[in-house]
């Protein structure tokens, strides 16, 4: 008999189903095997300092109170003494046992409470109630003690597992960020190579074309060939300058800026584009002033890129929503479009240099944006609602929380 119960408890607590379901099975097992009418399992919430019910069994399971404060009822008594309450016997109608008030006692004559803990670490309580006068045998009490131990270790394992999982996720996120950082380093090197390998030949082409011009007669019919060469070279040189200025290691010049006005300044550039694309602009800007430490020139490039991206994703009209807020020590800007988002399997690529989903994109816009935000010791987050749209959230440190003012 004992072994049957205990082996069932172990089978249930060791199974692969979610924790609360496992605890529910144990609660039902207990009411099936012992003459109790309600069995509640409560977990100790360290932050709230409360016991919260997570599972219950028995005919009168609905009478298990949802939650107990640290010093409330029989749960509080067990917590205070560190020992089982064994057993509270009273008149059925009252909610009071001795000096202890417990709403859950109404309609019950007996109650037992077992702590779920190992050492000083509280995991919860096991709360049993019977309508009748119930005196559990010593053997049954021993079984309940063992079950409590097993439940405590189950909860502990689960909590440790969650902590590990969390740590693993953080580590994983960090690794991804590191990889992004490496990609950005790569683009720096790439642009250096680009500059050298392309600019040098361009200097020769353009410079020697100019020399040729001097050799030709002033009215030579061949001059217009040279015009084409010179114009093309000038254009290419300008593109290289742009890329280098964006991707380059220009020292950032940090100052205190105001987030709402920075967003407005960027948006202003795109008003005409929004009108012609039939895009409705919704401004959800914070009424409060949000001082952030920024290099205004760079941060505007970042905002410009994000707004331009949003607009480009809505070729057939849509809604562009700009939200600013103060949140958790940061100034936050959210730029949301209704352009359908992007396929989830390529979402990880969007910050990769030269990755683009557009016909005429350079694939550098988001890479540069990411780099600028990182340089500001900020954070950029993407919410991709595939089929609907995307939100880019940029978080920038508040002005008073940014002691280092030199470029990263």
């Amino acid at each position: 008999m004992i072994y049957k119960i205990l082996s069932k408890v172990i089978e249930f607590t060791d199974s692969d189903i979610p924790l609360y379901q496992r605890l529910g099975k144990v609660a039902r097992l207990i009411v099936g095997q012992l003459p109790v009418d309600a069995c509640g399992i409560y977990l100790w919430e360290k932050n709230e300092r409360r016991f919260n019910r997570v599972a219950a069994g028995g005919r009168r399971r609905k009478n298990c109170v949802e939650s107990y404060g640290e010093e409330e009822g029989l749960a509080g008594r067990a917590k205070k003494t560190g020992r089982a309450v064994d057993c509270a016997r009273k008149e059925a109608e009252k909610t009071r046992w001795g000096s202890i008030e417990d709403r859950g006692l109404k309609g019950f004559r007996s109650a037992y409470v077992y702590p779920l803990r190992d050492g000083d670490d509280w995991r919860g309580i096991l709360y049993l109630k019977a309508e009748k006068n119930l005196k559990l045998s010593e053997e049954n009490k021993k079984i309940l003690h063992v079950i409590s131990k097993q439940l405590a270790s189950t909860v502990k394992n689960e909590q440790n597992y969650l902590r590990l999982k969390n740590a693993y996720k953080k580590l994983n996120d960090l690794q991804i960020r590191l990889m992004n950082a490496e990609k950005l380093m790569a683009i720096g090197e790439l642009s250096a190579a680009l500059a050298h390998e392309i600019r040098n030949p361009l200097v020769s082409i353009g410079g020697l074309a100019s020399r040729l011009r001097k050799k030709l007669e002033p009215l030579s019919p061949h001059l217009h060939y040279l015009d084409h060469i010179t114009n093309s070279v000038t254009r290419l040189e300008r593109i290289i300058n742009d890329i280098l200025n964006y991707a380059g290691k220009r020292e950032a010049k940090f100052n205190v800026g105001e987030l709402n006005s920075l967003v407005n300044e960027s948006l202003w550039l795109f008003e005409e584009a929004c009108r012609s694309h039939k895009i409705k602009v919704v401004k959800n800007l914070s009424k409060a002033v949000i001082p952030v430490v920024v290099d205004p020139q760079q941060i505007k490039i970042a905002f410009d890129n994000l707004i331009a991206n949003a607009i480009q994703s809505m070729e057939h009209g849509g809604r562009l929503t700009l939200t600013t807020a103060k949140r958790g020590g940061c100034g936050v800007v959210e730029i949301t479009d209704t352009g359908g988002g992007i396929e989830p399997n390529i979402i990880n690529e969007i910050f990769t240099p030269f990755f683009t989903t557009k016909k005429e994109g350079t694939g550098l816009g988001l890479t540069i944006t990411h780099k600028i935000i990182t340089r500001h010791k900020g954070l950029i987050e993407v919410k991709n609602d595939y089929g609907r749209g995307m939100t880019f959230a940029v978080k920038l440190p508040f002005a008073d929380k940014h002691p280092e003012r030199d470029g990263a």
């Binding site: 250096a192 600019r199 040098n200 200097v203 020769s204 353009g206 410079g207 280098l244 020292e251």
Partner: protein, 120 residues
């Protein structure tokens, strides 16, 4: 006699272009395609100014610059490079000017003229 300018660059097209353009301005132009060759030329000939590319195979321009400034402290050097970021590199601070390469040579010629006039 015209001033002598030494052009150091590993790209033949650029050496040709600089030579012709600077000769047109009235300078004598010597050419070197590497840092090593440039130092040899400086040993032998009298040179008034060096135009130095940074990114070259073998000894790079910054190393050449250091060697030049160690031996001929007053010889002016203009660094010419495709890559503007070197401007923040301490190694380039010893140069007398820094020009980002462009097919438009006006800036370069201006700097050459300025420096050689100052020297007089």
């Amino acid at each position: 006699m015209g001033k002598r300018v030494l052009v150091v660059d590993d790209e033949e097209g650029i050496r040709l272009l600089y030579k012709e353009e600077l000769e047109e301005e009235g300078y004598d132009v010597e050419l070197a395609s590497s840092g090593e060759e440039a130092l040899k030329k400086l040993e032998g000939d009298h040179i008034d100014l060096v135009l130095l590319d940074i990114k070259m195979p073998g000894m790079d321009g910054i190393e050449v610059l250091r060697k030049v400034k160690e031996r001929w402290r007053k010889l002016p050097v203009i660094l010419c490079t495709a890559f503007p970021h070197y401007k923040q590199d301490f190694g380039t601070w010893a140069s007398d000017a820094y020009v980002v390469k462009s097919s438009d040579l006006r800036e370069l010629k201006e700097k050459v003229k300025d420096i050689l006039q100052k020297k007089l």
